[in-house]
Symmetry: D2
Subunit: 271 residues, 4 copies
């Protein structure tokens, strides 16, 4: 199976770059499945139901979220009608929405998508490792599901690497989000799981993590609050990674960064 994962889509610039390119890339790369983190898709803060639908109509098969999951209150009531939108699994019981979903592709193959949030330097949610264990206990990679993607929305590289090693061999891909900068450590771990510490953002990199740089820098220097941050409006880089998996085992065969447009060095998988 050929999977594309895209990191945090930030604002209009990020959204438009994804929607303009995605159908072409699906074809060019013979993609079976696209997952995107969209916690910043609505003007940098949260995801509106309309934009969720636009992304799902525009070639994204499943959407993950993060600490900004609840910024758009109108999404909360609609999460139940959007089964392909998942929020971090380690929110307490009774939280709206789901922490994972299984997407059935037109060909009939099934892909498990899990979203989980780290706890270091982030809000104190429930144990993310236990949350992932509970989800994985209900599925068997290479059995009930043909592939499994785990989006670890976390601040520190250590916590993300912990997830990588712990679930190595049990999911197809462990990929980090949240820092909005792609890492260059994509690889297949010893147990067969593709791994990258952060997928990077889909947004304008001439910015501070996707937001207009002037205000963000003023805040760092002055400490006195400034205007509310606005997403930077320059040309976005669409950033993520592509994985090819073995449908029998669900493990990764190849992994390659995907970066198109904007300020970063492009990378297009050639498998």
């Amino acid at each position: 199976m050929r999977l594309l994962f895209l990191g945090d889509i930030v604002g209009r610039s990020g959204r438009e770059a994804v929607l303009e390119g995605l159908k072409g890339w699906r074809e060019e790369l013979s993609l079976d499945m696209v997952v995107a983190n969209a916690e910043n898709a609505s003007h940098g803060f949260g995801l509106s139901p309309q934009i969720a639908r636009d992304l799902l109509d525009g070639g994204v098969d499943a959407i993950t979220l993060g600490n900004h999951a609840w910024d758009r209150k109108d999404l909360i009531g609609q999460l139940d009608q959007l089964p392909a939108v998942v929020r971090p699994a380690n929110y307490p019981e009774g939280t709206p929405g789901q922490g994972s979903c299984v997407v059935t592709l037109p060909c009939g193959r099934k892909v498990l998508v899990i979203n989980v949030m780290g706890r270091v330097f982030m809000d104190a949610l429930d144990d993310p490792f236990r949350a992932v264990e509970q989800i994985l206990s209900k599925h068997r990679l290479g059995g009930t599901v043909h592939a499994a993607v785990l989006d670890v929305h976390a601040e520190t590289t250590s916590e993300k690497m912990g997830f990588g090693h712990l679930y190595d061999g049990r999911v197809s891909l462990v990929v980090g989000t949240h820092t909005h900068v792609p890492t260059a450590d994509h690889r297949i771990l010893r147990g067969g799981t593709a791994y990258q510490t952060d997928a990077g953002m889909c947004g304008d990199y001439d910015s501070v993590i996707g937001m207009e740089k002037e205000n963000a820098i003023r805040k760092m220097l002055k400490k006195v609050p400034t205007e509310r941050f606005q997403p930077a409006g320059g040309k976005a880089t669409v950033s993520g990674l592509m994985v090819e998996t073995d449908d029998t085992t669900g493990l990764a065969i190849r992994v390659c960064p995907f970066r198109q447009g904007g300020d970063l060095l492009p990378s297009m998988p050639n498998f």
Copy 2:
């Protein structure tokens, strides 16, 4: 001028990979200057005076540090005899050592090296921006110094990007350290400064940021303290980036990741 910057050297594995390769790479890439962050060179925690000397004898021209600067108490009293070893500039007045140094190359050209530490999710040091301003006010890029390297030792991508934009055009390179994972966002910013959010570590990546993964993961799962962490001993990736600068302006002409050995995809500059 042709500069190589190497990220946090971690333990014996990282040190040996750097020392074994560096003389060859200096020649192969016609390097004029090598800067390395060595805050984890001594068994993962700090830098002993002996290892500082080994690195300086082995092809490193200047060493930067970070939050682990003081882990080896024997270094503190010797910092004054090691002028090419710099600790973060924003420690309070009276702190041993210096936050910057100027290295004069055999050819007579001068390179300013600055080390500074971020404050988000780190110890509350003095204002890092003011510390860098004070240092830069005494030097002129393309005038009194031919190149200038700023190592921003920080946790968050936002703070590092703030430094990149703020000093764009005033130094040759702004590069982050501390997260131990290389980022894939190397580029030359609008004002001519080369930038990469993190240089990555020189160490074994089959680990949790360079430390043995079993213990690190057990700590994440169990919370009860484990044995003291040990550096992972597998084959290291030497990770950093190379920059070519214009000696007249001191600004960057080319930038390319440098990665050799170990688990990560290799990258060798071809300019």
Copy 3:
């Protein structure tokens, strides 16, 4: 000199309790000077210029602030016309307002009021110890000023105790604010400075630090954002402490908690 210090005034309930009682207490206790922290006076978040004037007209001689200093943007432009309103001294140079003021009483005696913010688990401001040193270097307790009050707005007890010991003998009173709960450790330190780790809030204690408890607890349990917090509207306890100083030395002779109204055990100084 007889000084009353009141902790963080929270919302209408806290404001009204202070304004209703203060003139009577000034007389009853023969107070020479009243200082109040008012960072939460305007509906729990910040201080409006109008409420600042109401407090200053109502018997408060000087107002201190904290991390909520900038919540009310209309205050920022008016800080220069409100010399008796001080914000934390360790904001960077160029920040609106002042970190200290000298109030001249009708009798001609002068009182130095300093506000400073801790850095542990708070925003990374400049070194608060250096900021206080710079202010104290311009004044002499028992010389140019007859008394000096230092409000340490900080999260941790350790940082506040550090301030107490460090400035023991150099100011009349070191008192903490920010936690909204009075501590029972009021005393005169070895060097003659009155000390209390936190003055407590002037607000409704049937709450979570002055805010309505239902919403605050729901946020702790659910993690999903709730409505914006509202100040609790029940009867406030006015909480602080009274200090009597020696006008010759400026040091403390007596210290006693002051608590009136609401849910806490009352305490009225009897000296």
Copy 4:
């Protein structure tokens, strides 16, 4: 029932003051039950098995812990033989020891003791509210147990007040520990539960939260690590609070601070 709760016992000074006074106080105050937090009893860091036994032999009926629970590795293996020593309940499943215990008094009455740790500005443990719910679901106040004490080991006043209100009416006492400073907000909440945000420490208050002040202040000023902190050795204040409960309902009838010796103003319950 007449209960005494003592806050964090720090080092030799705190231990000796408790052991010297406790048998007298038990008699003088007709105490039925004494609970003490002892996470810092062994030289400021952790609790050795021997000191645990000394305290249990010396008049303490149950011991609670906190973030320092694991500082003394020799305690870990012996927790199972020390059923009256409880560690925070919200450590993950499989953690040595228990998060609560039921002490049966010589008269046959039973007291439930719970220890839980907050998550704000502390290690990311499991949900402390859920942990307490699970324990309380197995006991009925005024039914299976005659009294129940909940020690909330936490940094912030807000989290502690959240616990107070949430369990108001369901336990006899909610008391905070960890900040090492007693608060003056002891009271009986609307639902009948006695509450105090922090019990304070049993230790030398001429210190920084019980540790020698010189080193602690040097660390705040210099940032470069100093010697390992040592407990302050001056005369300790024994600090806590006394509660009288109704054996039928288990709720509180009276609450009063208990403070004896050392630098703080003494308080001796007179009921």
